[in-house]
């Protein structure tokens, strides 16, 4: 159970959009986390510097926000047991690789380009996620 945060979520979402536009304007790249991460794994591509820099910025930002605020202002809650985090991580990794993208690449950048592939992918993973949450929480009584 979490609090409804329309203003923070809309503002945060707009920032995600600004980041996507900046990466396209600077480097001509889709701000999709799957694609950016894939190019950082072996065999290493020759353009790993901008990828590593983008990832470093994405990790540093929440830490900077907390440091500036002086208190843990970014909520984080997870009730998922460790073995399921590992299994879920593997499933996500395999899925986004074969699906050529995730929420950022397909759901934001692809939909903004009105790409039919991204529309199909986004509809599929949103439906699949909702179905999984229903099964885990309401049929299996899980986290």
């Amino acid at each position: 159970m979490t609090e409804f945060t329309p203003v923070a979520s809309l503002f945060g979402g707009a920032l995600i959009g600004v980041a996507a536009v900046l990466l396209m304007a600077f480097h001509g790249r889709i701000a999709g986390m799957t694609g950016i991460l894939s190019g950082l794994l072996p065999p290493f591509s020759d353009d790993w510097t901008w990828r590593a820099a983008f990832i470093a910025g994405a990790i540093a930002a929440p830490a900077l926000i907390i440091a500036i605020a002086g208190e843990p202002v970014i909520p984080f809650e997870s009730a998922v047991p460790a073995p399921w985090l590992v299994i879920g991580g593997l499933i996500v990794g395999i899925g986004v690789y074969f699906g050529s993208g995730c929420t950022s690449g397909h759901g934001v950048c692809g939909l903004a380009r009105v790409s039919p592939r991204s529309i199909a992918a986004t509809l599929t993973f949103m439906a699949s996620t909702a179905l999984t949450v229903f099964i885990v929480r309401h049929l299996l009584g899980g986290f």
């Binding site: 995600i16 910025g57 929440p62 009730a79 592939r117």
Partner: protein
């Protein structure tokens, strides 16, 4: 140098957006998908805000002859909706629904110093690496079949 710093800056804005929006919080993401429980519609505002800004920004950026620090725009060239796209996306949703982590939410969550995020990201990178190896092996076998 400016190429690296510009990517770092874009990453910082991305990470700040994810953190402020609530996407780095697995419980909040799962609450959005739990329409049969106590529903938190916040994620729709994240997607909506991101989509509007990106669509307008891309409209102007992609009219330029080239990006600032590269010779060309690297836009996906695939057009067909193939089984891998749909099956992969469906599989991704299962993992997202179990954990509440998607790749773009989990990477900034590392900056919160949460062990859960580290465990998920390590495993996810293993999954991506394994999938790349599998696709490579399949491609090699297809080539030798053709030969």
């Amino acid at each position: 140098m400016i190429r690296t710093l510009s990517a770092l800056f874009a990453g910082l804005v991305f990470g700040a957006g994810i953190a402020i929006s609530g996407m780095a919080n697995p419980a909040k993401v799962l609450s959005f998908f739990d329409v049969a429980g106590v529903w938190d519609p916040s994620l729709a505002f994240v997607m909506g805000g991101a989509l509007i800004v990106t669509a307008i920004g891309y409209h102007f950026v992609l009219r330029r002859p080239q990006p600032l620090f590269d010779r060309t725009f690297h836009l996906p060239s695939a057009r067909n909706i193939d089984p891998a796209l749909i099956a992969g996306s469906a599989v991704f949703g299962v993992g997202w629904g179990i954990t509440g982590f998607c790749p773009g939410g989990a990477i900034p969550a590392l900056g919160l110093g949460e062990a859960d995020a580290l465990l998920f990201v390590g495993s996810m990178l293993g999954g991506i690496a394994a999938a790349r190896l599998a696709r490579h092996a399949m491609a090699v076998r297809t080539q030798s079949d053709a030969a």
